[in-house]
Structure formats: structure tokens, C-alpha cells
């Protein structure tokens, strides 16, 4: 089939990332997403340094509504909600980013191998993936978190494991598609080793898909972390996580609804930031548009 047509080469080609960045900058939604993400990252890094101790209880200032002293009010133990949200940002971002990174590392490796070799490896792995997918994420994560016990590390592991099948599917799909491309056959014809082909030829070309998957998976993992915390399977107290803050806020829904509002907004905005960023990257990295 004759699909590709030669195009006139532009006179001064720019590096790809520069063009991508320019295209990205033209999308207000994507830029908003980036700002949100960067904002929350900075907030997570700087917040706990600049703000008061998020764990400092003050029994004389319990359940205070927002004020100058406490921008977002205080919680049931008189702790500053703003400081706790900043602390929670660390947990949420850490859980989101680390679990996704872990899932990507594992999933991409397995996915590339199965997609590249196919055959029985593929059959076996895909059946396992089927089984993992068949377990609703939450059941899976709840079970895993219950088995491993509550701690940030275990939450990250649980979230990562539950993301892995999706990553495997994507990586496998990419590997299967890319290995059909002629430059891969070219590498084989050079006598390139399988590892070289997988990691020098296939992986870099699947990078867009992985980046997009990451930006989709991170917000999902952030929400997943908060859900696990909400079910009491999250991080260790007094570390604050947005999910834990919401759990205890549930008790004060009628008296102090702001306790439920702010952490929820934080989750939603962070997730929104990543989702917007992901959408933007998806558009910008779309091979159809970059060619």
C-alpha cells in the first residue's frame, strides 16, 4: 500500500522537542494543566517548608473556619488544614508518580518482550493480564493493601501492580505495531540483538504512548491513593493524605463542610492538571500531526 508521500523538507528544521513545545504552548488548556501540575509540585516541595507544622495539634483551635491565621481553617485536632493539604500533596504526588513510574518500568519491560516475541510468552502473559484486568481495580488494591499493610510504600506497590496490566497492553500493542515497521526489519537485517531492537528501536518510538499513558495514569493513581486512604488502607498517620483528610472530614460533614471541600478540591485540581497535561501531550505528540 502506498500511503506515505514525500514532503518538502522545511528549510531550517527545528529539533522535534522545540516544535512540540511550540505546539504545546499554543494550547491554553494544556498550559493550564502544566501550570496546575507544576504548581502542585512546587506546593508539595515548598509548602511543608514554609508553612506551619502540619501535625501540630492545637486543642484550643479545633474546627475553626478559614481565617487569616488558618487560611483553610483547622481540623478536628486543631491542625492547620492548609499545611496538611501541602503535606498531603507530597503523599498524593508521590503515590501518583512513583506508582505510575513503577508500573511503567515493569509494564513496559514485560509488554515489549511479549509484543516483540509473541508466541507462547505472549499467550501466557496476556492470560495473566486478562485475569488482572478482570479484577476490578479497587478489589485488587484493597486486597493487596490489606495483605501488605498500610504504608505509603505499600500503597504505591498496590497502585503500581494494579496499573501494570494496562501498561503491558499498551506496550505490547506498541511493540507489535512498531516491530512491523520496516526500520525494525532493517535493524534485524543488520544483525541487531533482540535487546537492542527492543530498547533502542522500539521503546523510543513508543515513548509518546508511554508519556500519554503516564499522564492518564498519574491522576488515576492519585485518586486511587485517596480512595485507599478513604478506606483506611492508606498512609501512616499523622502523615496527612488527602484521602485520610476526607475520611475524617466525613464525620464533620454537617458541622464543618469545608474540611471535606478543600482536600477534595486539591485532589480534583491535581488530577485535572495531569489530565489536561495528558490531553495536551496526546495532541501534541500525535504522530499524525507531527509527521
Amino acid at each position: 500500500m502506498i500511503t506515505a508521500k514525500p514532503k518538502a523538507a522545511s528549510s531550517t528544521p527545528r529539533p522535534r522537542w522545540q516544535r512540540v513545545a511550540r505546539r504545546f504552548a499554543r494550547r491554553p488548556m494544556a498550559v493550564t494543566g502544566l501550570i496546575l501540575v507544576v504548581g502542585f509540585v512546587l506546593f508539595a516541595i515548598l509548602g511543608p517548608i514554609l508553612l506551619t507544622d502540619p501535625n501540630q495539634q492545637d486543642f484550643t483551635a479545633i474546627l475553626q473556619t478559614p481565617s487569616f491565621a488558618h487560611l483553610l481553617g483547622t481540623d478536628d485536632l486543631g491542625r492547620d488544614v492548609f499545611a496538611r493539604i501541602a503535606n498531603g500533596a507530597r503523599v498524593s504526588l508521590m503515590a501518583g508518580v512513583m506508582s505510575t513510574a513503577l508500573a511503567l518500568i515493569i509494564g513496559i519491560t514485560i509488554g515489549l518482550i511479549t509484543g516483540f516475541y509473541r508466541g507462547w510468552v505472549d499467550v501466557v502473559v496476556m492470560r495473566i493480564v486478562d485475569v488482572m484486568l478482570a479484577f476490578p481495580f479497587l478489589i485488587f488494591a484493597v486486597g493487596l493493601a490489606a495483605i501488605l499493610g498500610a504504608s505509603l510504600t505499600n500503597v504505591i506497590i498496590a497502585l503500581a501492580v494494579s496499573q501494570v496490566p494496562e501498561v503491558i497492553r499498551i506496550a505490547r500493542g506498541e511493540a507489535m505495531a512498531i516491530r512491523e515497521q520496516e526500520f525494525v526489519s532493517g535493524a534485524v537485517a543488520d544483525g541487531a540483538r533482540d535487546g537492542t531492537i527492543m530498547f533502542r528501536y522500539i521503546a523510543p518510538n513508543a515513548m509518546s504512548a508511554f508519556i500519554v499513558q503516564a499522564t492518564v495514569a498519574i491522576p488515576a493513581a492519585i485518586i486511587g491513593e485517596s480512595t485507599l486512604s478513604f478506606l483506611g488502607l492508606g498512609v501512616q498517620p499523622p502523615m496527612s493524605s488527602w484521602g485520610i483528610m476526607l475520611t475524617s472530614a466525613q464525620q464533620y460533614l454537617a458541622q464543618a463542610p469545608y474540611l471535606a471541600l478543600f482536600p477534595g478540591i486539591a485532589i480534583a485540581l491535581t488530577a485535572l492538571g495531569f489530565n489536561l497535561l495528558g490531553d495536551g501531550l496526546r495532541d501534541v505528540l500525535d504522530p499524525k500531526e507531527t509527521r
Binding site: 502506498i2 500511503t3 506515505a4 508521500k5 514525500p6 514532503k7 518538502a8 523538507a9 522545511s10 528544521p13 522535534r16 499467550v123 515497521q181 520496516e182 526500520f183 526489519s185 532493517g186 535493524a187 534485524v188 537485517a189 543488520d190 544483525g191 541487531a192 537492542t196 528501536y201 523510543p204 518510538n205 507531527t290 509527521r291
Partner: protein, 345 residues
């Protein structure tokens, strides 16, 4: 042919299994169904045939990108058809491939320089400086200016890409180059320059070439010898001049008559043979001659008996047709009894 041929393929078969292991019955695609080929040193063999006739599969079996189902492939006298991937690796410097699609045949994440260096790296040839010298030499020979070294494939035109692909294929100095429709995706003017480069390089470097194409005018221009493929089999092979002078197999005749010639006077005056139907599905097992269903002059024997590729009229002109005889030569297909021949007005 006193000299040992670069490539000898005999009775090459490649059947693809499609369908899943779990699902019970599978279908078999008979992509290549018993092909014999020989390419002499410095020879360009053109392989023509319709889409899906198995040309690319032959090419990729020879380059061992596909594991043949059976048959032998001798590269420089050594049977490579059953070598393992590891055993094959050192031999990979002897045979290289240039693909059709200039857009997917180069790794989009590597620069031109990296792409052309890559085979040298894989085979651990030379020092870095030596490699750079070899690469710039090769780029120059393929007509690429050195300022392109740092560019990525998407920053090149189709013709430039195909030159890069050519440079990459030739950088190890292979004895055999398999060119799978290297110019089909290109405009005529670009195609012309690439064909020129291939011819020049072939003369200068002396490699042999299996040139796969479906364009008769291209094959006529570039090949020393031509093999015509139909449904997984070679139906006719001859030298270029001989094939165009005396096409023997009915399919070859139809092909030549249908091919457009860029000359209105000859194009319009000529009788055109229009075959009924399309290439049959390669999943069906066809008894007898693979062409019999579309052949205007087929006889009963054609449906029962597989014709062999024989040099009936001479050892250098082989065809696989029962109707070719030493006495009468080729059958005249526009005189067949089936009402399939249109006279263009």
C-alpha cells in the same frame, strides 16, 4: 555461469499460519510456494508480480527476516536457510535490504548519521573515526550532502530518505542487496534519481541485487534478468530483452499488455488483454497451474497438473506453462476462446 552465484534459492516455501493456537482450525497463507532463483555476481534480478503474489516474502526469506517453511537458500554457497539467529548474525553483513516505504524504513528517533553508522556498530567495524569516514563516504556516494548527518528522517524528503536507506544498506559492502520496491512510493522525477544512484553504485561497488517491483518500466530499466511471480510461484524468468521480446507465459503476456506506456500512439493502438477477476486468495489450495482460473487459454491439463518452470525454448528463458512448446513457442492469448479480450478503441 562458471562463477559461483551469489544467491541460489531452490524450492523456497513460506506458508503463514494465521488464526490462533487456541481456536482450533487455522488457515494457511501460501505466500511463497516453491520458488527457485539464482542471482549471479554483479547481476540485478528484477522480480515482478501482482500485489500479494509473494515478492516481499521471497525477499525477506532471503534476508532471513522471515523463517522459510522449507527450501534452501544459499548465500555465497553457504546454506543459510536453517541457521539460527546467532549463527546468521555475522553473515548479515553480506545481505542487506532496502524497503519500499521511505517513511517507516528509518528509525524516526535516530539522526541520519546514527542510522548509517548503525550497521557498522552492530558488526563492530572500525574505530569511531573510521566509521565516521566510511559513513561520510557512503553518504557522498548516495548523493547526500554531509550537512544532513545531524538531521532526523522526518526532516528529509522522500528521495533523500531513500538515499539514506540505500547508504545504510551498502555501508557494510554486502554482496547482495534486496531492494523491495524501493522507488514505488516516489514521484517519477525522484524515482529517476534513485534509480540512477542504484545503477551507479551497483557498477561501482559490484554488489548483486534482487530488485522487487510491480512496475514493468522500472524493471525493464534496471534489471539484467527478470523473474515474473504469480501466486507464490515464479512463472517465467528470462533476460530483460528476451522477456520483453518474447513473453511466453500467458500471465506475462497479460501483464505486458496491460502495463501503461507513456506514449499515446502506442498506448492507444495496442490490443489490451484484460484479465477477468483478481488474484485468487492465497489461502485456497489451487490444483494445477495457479493462473488457470484467469487464463484465457487454459486447457483441462492446466487445472490438474502443476506446470514446471522449464527452459522450453532455451535454457535461459524458463516458463511454467503447459502450452509453451519448443515448436510453437508461447500460446497467443488474445486468441483464446474466452471472450475476455477487449480491443481498445
Amino acid at each position: 555461469m562458471s562463477e559461483q552465484p551469489v544467491l541460489e534459492v531452490s524450492n523456497l516455501v513460506k506458508h503463514f499460519q494465521s488464526g490462533s493456537r487456541l481456536g482450533g482450525g487455522r488457515t494457511v497463507v501460501r505466500a511463497v510456494d516453491g520458488v527457485d532463483l539464482t542471482i549471479g555476481r554483479g547481476e540485478i534480478l528484477g522480480l515482478v508480480g501482482e500485489s500479494g503474489s509473494g515478492k516481499s516474502t521471497v525477499g525477506s526469506c532471503i534476508a532471513r527476516l522471515t523463517q522459510p517453511s522449507s527450501g534452501t537458500i544459499r548465500l555465497l554457497g553457504r546454506d543459510i536457510s536453517t541457521l539460527s539467529r546467532r549463527e546468521m548474525r555475522p553473515l548479515r553483513s553480506e545481505v542487506h535490504v532496502v524497503f519500499q516505504d521511505p517513511y517507516s524504513s528509518l528509525n524516526p528517533r535516530m539522526t541520519v548519521g546514527q542510522i548509517v553508522t548503525e550497521p557498522l556498530r552492530q558488526h563492530r567495524r572500525g574505530t569511531r573515526a573510521e566509521r565516521n569516514r566510511i559513513v561520510s563516504d557512503m553518504l557522498e556516494r548516495t548523493g547526500l550532502s554531509l550537512e544532513l548527518v545531524g538531521r532526523f528522517p522526518h526532516e528529509l524528503s522522500g528521495g533523500q530518505r531513500q538515499r539514506v536507506a540505500l547508504a545504510r544498506a551498502l555501508v557494510l559492502g554486502p554482496s547482495l542487496v534486496i531492494a523491495d520496491e524501493p522507488v514505488s512510493a516516489l514521484d517519477v522525477s525522484v524515482q529517476a534519481s534513485i534509480l540512477n544512484v542504484i545503477l551507479d553504485l551497483q557498477i561501482d561497488l559490484g554488489f548483486s541485487c534482487l530488485f522487487i517491483t510491480h512496475d514493468l518500466s522500472v524493471v525493464e530499466f534496471i534489471s539484467d534478468r527478470i523473474a515474473v511471480m504469480y501466486l507464490g510461484k515464479i512463472v517465467e524468468t528470462a533476460t530483460r530483452a528476451e522477456l520483453f521480446r518474447d513473453p511466453q507465459h500467458p500471465y506475462t503476456q497479460a501483464l505486458l499488455s496491460a502495463a501503461p506506456t507513456a506514449d499515446p500512439s502506442s498506448a492507444r493502438g495496442r490490443e489490451r488483454i484484460i484479465l477477468s477477476g483478481d488474484l485468487p486468495s492465497p489461502t485456497e489450495e489451487i490444483s494445477g497451474c495457479p493462473f488457470h482460473a484467469r487464463c484465457p487459454v487454459a486447457i483441462d491439463r492446466c487445472t490438474n497438473e502443476v506446470p514446471l518452470l522449464l527452459g522450453v525454448t532455451g535454457p535461459d528463458h524458463q516458463s511454467a506453462c503447459h502450452l509453451v512448446t519448443a515448436e510453437n513457442g508461447a500460446p497467443l492469448i488474445n486468441q483464446g476462446d474466452k471472450n475476455l479480450v477487449h480491443n481498445a478503441s
